[in-house]
Symmetry: C2
Subunit: 371 residues, 2 copies
């Protein structure tokens, strides 16, 4: 499944002209894909899609297939963009897996590289009967699905976490997903929604990087609804909160769930624009900071913060918890989000006025990044 020809990336949502200084002009998507050839996109994925070619062809206008194709492309583009920043000896390992109950996934992991200590980019396309605890969880956030009933469902999404080696480069996470539940097969009553988001976890605060990250997603949001960015930015700060420590996981970004208005087409376009904004939001930050100097104490702080990251994912993250509690789930794919190394030191204290303290201040009091 390796060795696919690299395709030209769609730059329509890259919005290079909107990037703030000093990041403007630092990256163009074309740079990432210098050997672009305009061949059939189908052969450029990380692995064979989960849905077979005949089904894809006969349902090519369905949202299920369009979303699957979209996340396949996002996975490929992001993996290639990261490999482009990496020592060529290190490549993404690709694991394509299927599950007995229906569907499967493609897990791509690059581990112990020079630029990236651990990077995972997963897609999953699953269907079957929805587990009762999933219905309870959805209803707990107001979905009002009938309980105690075996409902067919379909879910697909792309999910990624990148933990770079250099503490001057932040960790990024993103996830975009589409969900369908058949509430009543007799009445053909179907519910669907989109969810997703992305957030940045720096080890040291570089305001221009954080502004660039937020601005890129604000631009994607603003194309669709001028209330989206402020609503989804606040939701993100709220969601990625490590409650017991009273700090956020990072400096936020956007987060949304249960998106089903105004119509499916508009929602899809919005999610696609957000997913395509990931590379331009993050790659300039990688390029800018990859040679930044650091030493033992910066590495220790990075490890402590990676412990906080693991805590959030294992204690609070809905996706991780739901995954781990689902019998037969592929835990290796779920746990790819955990850092390669983490450290828990009793009573680790940051020194007043230090760069660590400056970051902690922002984690305690989330700020607005766009004027």
């Amino acid at each position: 499944m390796r060795g696919f020809v690299q395709l030209k990336a769609d730059t329509s949502s890259a919005e290079v002209s909107d990037w703030p200084e000093p990041l403007k002009d630092k990256i163009l998507l074309e740079e990432i894909f210098p050997n672009e050839t305009d061949v059939d996109a189908d052969i450029n994925w990380m692995a064979e899609p989960l849905t077979d070619a005949a089904t894809r062809e006969s349902n090519k206008n369905s949202m299920r297939v369009r979303m699957e194709m979209m996340i396949m492309k996002i996975q490929r583009d992001f993996c290639r963009a990261l490999e482009n920043e990496e020592d060529p000896r290190y490549k993404f390992l690709v694991d394509r897996w299927t599950r007995a109950e229906g569907g499967g996934g493609i897990t791509c992991v690059l581990q112990d590289g020079t630029t990236f200590e651990k990077a995972g980019v997963n897609i999953s396309v699953v269907h079957g009967k929805i587990p009762p605890q999933a219905v309870a969880q959805m209803n707990a956030r107001g979905k009002k699905l009938p309980e105690g009933k075996e409902m067919p469902f379909f879910a697909c999404g792309v999910s990624s976490v990148v933990h770079p080696r250099n503490p001057n480069i932040p960790t990024i996470h993103f996830n975009f997903r589409y969900f369908e539940v058949v509430e009543s097969e007799e009445e053909n009553r179907k519910r669907w929604w989109f969810g997703g988001g992305t957030d940045l976890t720096p080890y040291y605060l570089d305001k221009s990087d954080v502004k660039h990250f937020h601005q890129t997603f604000k631009n994607a949001c603003d194309k669709h609804n001028d209330k989206f960015y402020s609503k989804f930015k606040a939701w993100c700060d709220d969601y990625f909160l490590i409650k017991h420590r009273g700090i956020t996981r990072g400096v936020g970004g956007i987060f949304f769930d249960d998106l089903d208005t105004p119509d499916r087409e508009s929602c899809f376009d919005f999610v696609k624009d957000c997913a395509e904004a990931v590379i331009p939001s993050y790659l300039p930050i990688v390029k800018k900071n990859r040679e930044g100097p650091y030493g033992y104490s910066e590495r220790q702080w990075q490890l402590i913060r990676r412990g906080h990251y693991a805590e959030f994912n294992l204690v609070y993250d809905r996706g991780t918890k739901f995954g781990l509690y689902t019998p037969g789930a592929r835990y290796e794919s779920i746990l790819m989000s955990l850092p390669l190394h983490a450290k828990w030191e009793y009573m680790n204290k940051v020194i007043e006025g230090s760069r660590e303290a400056k970051l902690t201040e922002v984690l305690k009091n989330p700020r607005e990044w766009i004027d």
Copy 2:
């Protein structure tokens, strides 16, 4: 609060004569406390008890005070026993804390030592109104307490996790606790129970060590009820299960909860005997393996297994979850159980027939250790 005179430990439950070969005669508690002086026990704790001297004196026969005194002694004895195995430059840090709602705790941590990478020994003595989610959790395991009512409670316990440096030495955990809830103040209706347990997490399997550990607690159990060991051993295997991986956290030990028969005095005696069995169960294993050779690959396996340990504690452990979800809880004390370093490697595989595989086999299929 440092520099207390070391007291002679009570060896009545040490049962040295029952230890299996080759551990017999390797340790005597007297060795740990060579400078014993028979002074007032009150000044030999790690810090001042949470309950003040006047209250202790006027309630000295109450179970609350007796249990508090018992766990204070266990904490002191275990900390001193560990320090006795450590480079004298490394000592337990002692943090005594109180909480606004009532009570507090004493957290003792020795970090980044020569023998011990991280060791925590905590006691807590708390009282106040029981949080509703705690009542729900207790009732979920069959306690039948009235819900939706603010009930006064008292809880005290000792809890410890020791992560040694050398992968030839297993990690140990133990916890012993006493709980009281006033169901009805008007009718003076009080419920009480004890809980606790201890389990061993080796990185490499040494059957004689595991047998010694289990035998020590079987001896403590058998003094009280000949069904306790087999029941609490099975409960331990069941409780310390990392469900998503299909492996236990370690090679087990004993675990029990809601112990309230035949009477409070007998329960206390049992819990005290178990708590006093910890040093003789573990110290010989430390002494035997502390000089065992190891290299890079053993350290990597230890880090991977420490990742599993962190997963269990953050995802499944009732005490940790309850603690982290309690507003105002002292998270530094709760998270002392996490290892100093942990590693998560995507698709880490053990080589067939290796020592890592032999341990994994036992984690997948818990065994009986006593003939």
